[in-house]
Subunit: 119 residues, 2 copies
DNA sequence: CAGTATCCATTAAGATACTG
DNA sequence: CAGTATCTTAATGGATACTG
């Protein structure tokens, strides 16, 4: 995430799984603790850095920055900087991540069912 | 996964996110590099340890064991031991993980679209 | 066959302080 | 406001050898 050794076995392993399989590719893109959560928060409307932060109370600034950068690099969010003082930066979903909405809704429903079943 | 300190900030953080949110709960259950991949392999039919291993060429025995244990603990696969020599153990999907199939198919399709869009 | 055990490498996550 | 920088700990992943 931060600095990744390109040639660790781990990286190579990951790369080759991801390349050979669309599912892994998707998970790689959106997996982890924070990414989908960030996207969910952006579903209704575009948000500014601190708005996202407040919406996800337990994330640190550092983590939020890192995750936003990766999401941006993967084309899942867009970042718009307004040349104002104080600075304003807005994040919003892109077309491709919008397509993900129905999928995470289903996953969410599944999670609820599953949780209930084990309670 | 292996030995987790129960009271690290990280664990606490994770626990509380997972508890408050069905989506995170679902991701926690099925996220990571290997879990969905294992489930996918079990979709068509039940498999033995080494069959899964061969199907996922790059996983190590240790990782496979760990992931299978977690999946079992979460009720996503069932494990049947046959009292034979040599030992035979079969893994198969449970009802709740079967419900996941249409979801991962969609995710897979999304991954393919996304990948294409950026190629 | 179906795993365990051990030890080490890599990566993710967090606290805190600071800046344009 | 919207981040960086730095340092530290925790968690995950892997190689290899071994066992009931």
């Amino acid at each position: 995430m931060a600095e990744r050794k390109e040639n660790s076995t781990n990286s190579v392993n990951r790369k080759c799984i991801v390349e050979s399989n669309d599912l892994s590719y998707a998970i790689d893109m959106v997996g982890g603790r924070w990414k989908l959560l960030i996207l969910v928060n952006l579903e209704k409307k575009k948000l500014r850095f601190n708005e996202i932060r407040k919406a996800m109370s337990s994330i640190t600034e550092r983590m939020l920055t890192l995750q936003l950068r990766e999401l941006e690099a993967d084309g899942l969010i867009s970042r718009t900087v307004y040349a104002e003082v104080p600075p304003r930066v807005e994040y919003e979903l892109t077309e491709i991540s919008t397509e993900l909405i129905p999928i995470w809704k289903k996953l969410c429903a599944w999670g609820a069912r599953h949780r209930k079943a084990r309670a």
